[in-house]
């Protein structure tokens, strides 16, 4: 079910502004890949190109290739909606739908697409997804309550449950723990470890300890220079990255001697 992603010569623009240039990497299936780097260097931008959420921003466009399972995502005949159904995404700030209950939030991917299903099937999906997101025990008695009533960490796990309820092949996470306390963060990191067996996961993080803890591969992004586009400086297995990086800039960033 899980798929690998091949990115080659990816250039990402906002209008005329080249934001990220020349990205080449392979995200392996059933592995966690972390993107690290300073703010504004294009980590989230690259992440968003992986499920064509990039083009939601007016004027944004992409050159180069992103290949998932032999299909190029930026082929003119590809439907971005179909891509997003295969490649789910969790955002930096939890964004449960305020008009929906916890139950409906989990089913949002199905309900919003007007997929007909039996009540028992829907119940199964909700239970499986909430269990998968480590939230079931906390909310099983109040599934009909609004999703906005949960705490921040619970809301983020609800969003993860919502993303895995449609059974995507890849799960993209854009700084999923940056707004959370250490306990919620550790709950989500445990969850990432569990999800790894079924999904390919790409996570953007500012927290290098987190990257070291959860990921198998790590990509380090940086700006070439101030005002220049961002680039992928180094892409290596996490162990190698944090013990013996190829690039001096990576070592400087990881050891905190950056700048």
């Amino acid at each position: 079910m899980a798929k690998s992603i091949d990115v080659s010569d990816l250039n990402i623009y906002y209008g005329d502004f080249l934001a990220v240039s020349g990205v080449n990497m392979t995200v392996k299936a059933r592995q966690v890949t972390a993107f690290i780097g300073p703010s504004g260097c294009g980590k989230s931008t690259v992440l968003r190109t992986l499920n064509r959420m990039h083009e939601v921003i007016p004027g944004a466009r992409v050159e180069g290739k992103v290949v998932v399972d032999g299909q190029s995502l930026y082929d003119p005949s590809v439907d971005p909606v179909a891509v997003r159904r295969q490649i789910g995404m969790v955002f930096q700030r939890p964004n449960p739908f305020p008009t929906m209950s916890i139950y409906d939030n989990v089913l949002a991917g199905n309900k919003l697409n007007a997929r007909k299903m039996k009540k028992s099937e829907a119940d199964d999906i909700v239970e499986r997804s909430l269990k998968g997101a480590n939230l079931w025990n906390e909310v099983k008695d109040r599934l009909s309550k609004p999703g906005m009533g949960l705490s921040g960490g619970q809301q983020q796990r609800l969003c993860i449950a919502r993303a895995i309820a449609v059974r995507p092949q890849v799960l993209l996470m854009d700084e999923p723990c940056s707004a959370l306390d250490p306990i919620s963060t550790s709950a989500i990191e445990d969850l990432i470890h569990e999800l790894k067996s079924e999904y390919t996961i790409v996570i953007v993080t500012h927290n290098m300890q987190q990257a070291a803890r959860v990921s198998d591969d790590t990509g380090f992004f940086n700006l070439k220079a101030t005002g220049e586009p961002g680039q992928l400086v180094e892409f290596n297995p996490t162990k190698k990255m944090f013990t013996n990086p190829d690039n001096e800039a990576t070592e400087a960033y990881i050891s905190g001697r950056f700048g």
Binding site: P58, Q86, R93, A108, L112, N113, A163
Partner: protein, 365 residues
């Protein structure tokens, strides 16, 4: 200048620490405001009684005394900051009272003069064949309801869809900027111009001096659409982009994201805006006078002939003149109709609040 600014920082820290900074200050007693008000208006009362000023003069002079007295007293005892606080508090409350004055006066007058006209007959009879006493405004209530409902059916969908285009699809391109500008211009169109537009349109279709109720609805739509567009646009802009992205990232097509996520999230505000737009045009007189005309009987067909409405009835009854013995009944009827119109608009406003709170996103646990 710099010396005085930096002076506190150059003092010896040991003396600074030993200096006792008191946290308590002398305060006016809690009845100070009441006391100052009583004394001010009491003092103003003396010349008012002696020189037999009108009540307004007494209130104004008392107010001036109060504005001077309380802050001065406070300044002497409590210091400058508190004095300014009391002065601004008085000004804010005074402007609030001033703003409420016309509202309360209008409602009081309308209720006082109009309440007497209300009766079962007033709500169930038309004025067919009635000149003096008796008859009712049933025909005008029905006319106002029919014309306003048709105007809403025309303008609310157009307004909401235009706002959806502007916010969700236009994204500040040239067309959407032009449209926004034109909508702003339309907001300022005088209602008589909307009436003339409808009159010209139906003169083309039906010949000179048309009298048709649907024309009134169209004139009101011209006034309503920009209000609905603006209010809906503001509400849609309040929906966070994260929700749109959340839905899109689940593989939901854009149109479903708009209809199932964005619009429901903003629904409370949209309904409130639309209801306020209805309330706003329900009281329009000029365009209806031009195109819907006046009628003494009941007409339920908006596509044929004149139709009476409440504002036009009020205008007609209050200005008609005629036999002197009929005039008091006409005036009373006008006030009664005004009361009914205000009640309809108030009900709509209440409805908007209820509906708005019913649809707004829930955050309860």
């Amino acid at each position: 200048m710099t010396d005085t600014l930096h002076e506190p920082f150059h003092t010896d820290p040991s003396t600074d620490l030993s200096t006792h900074v008191p946290l308590t200050k002398p305060q006016l007693p809690s009845i100070a405001t009441t006391l100052a008000a009583a004394v001010s208006w009491g003092l103003a009362g003396l010349p008012a009684l002696l020189l037999s000023w009108p009540i307004a003069g007494w209130v104004v002079v008392g107010w001036i005394l109060f504005v001077l007295a309380l802050p001065t007293w406070s300044g002497l005892i409590e210091g400058g900051r508190k004095a300014v606080d009391r002065l601004v508090t008085i000004l804010v409350w005074s402007t609030f009272a001033l703003a409420m004055l016309p509202l309360v006066a209008v409602i009081y007058t309308v209720v006082e003069r109009g309440a007497g006209a209300l009766s079962v007959e007033f709500f169930t009879a038309s004025q067919q064949g009635v000149l003096g006493e008796g008859g009712g405004i049933y025909h005008a209530i029905m006319g106002t309801l029919i014309i306003t409902v048709i105007a809403s059916v025309i303008s609310i969908p157009i307004g909401i869809m235009a706002a959806v285009y502007l916010v969700e699809y236009g994204k500040n391109n040239r067309l959407s900027r032009t449209l926004t500008f034109l909508v702003d211009v339309m907001t300022g169109i005088p209602s008589i111009v909307a009436g003339l537009f409808a009159l010209a349109l139906f003169t083309l279709l039906l010949g000179p001096l048309p009298r048709i109720a649907i024309g009134g609805s169209i004139a009101l739509s011209v006034l309503m659409i920009p209000i609905v567009v603006r209010s809906t646009e503001e509400m849609l802009k309040l929906v966070p982009d994260e929700l749109r992205e959340g839905a899109l990232a689940l593989g939901v097509p854009k149109w479903r994201t708009i209809t199932k996520v964005v619009l429901p999230t903003a629904l409370g505000g949209i309904v409130t805006g639309a209801t306020l737009a209805v309330a706003r045009v329900a009281g329009e007189t000029a365009p209806l006078l031009l195109i819907a005309g006046t009628l003494r009987g009941t007409n339920f067909n908006p596509f044929d002939g004149a139709m009476q409405t409440l504002p036009v009835l009020i205008f007609g009854e209050a200005t008609r003149g005629g036999l002197a013995e009929y005039v008091p009944f006409q005036i009373e009827r006008a006030w009664g109709a005004a009361l009914v119109l205000i009640m309809i608009v108030m009900l709509l406003n209440l409805l908007a609040r209820v509906v708005g709170s019913f649809f707004s996103p829930k955050t309860g646990r």
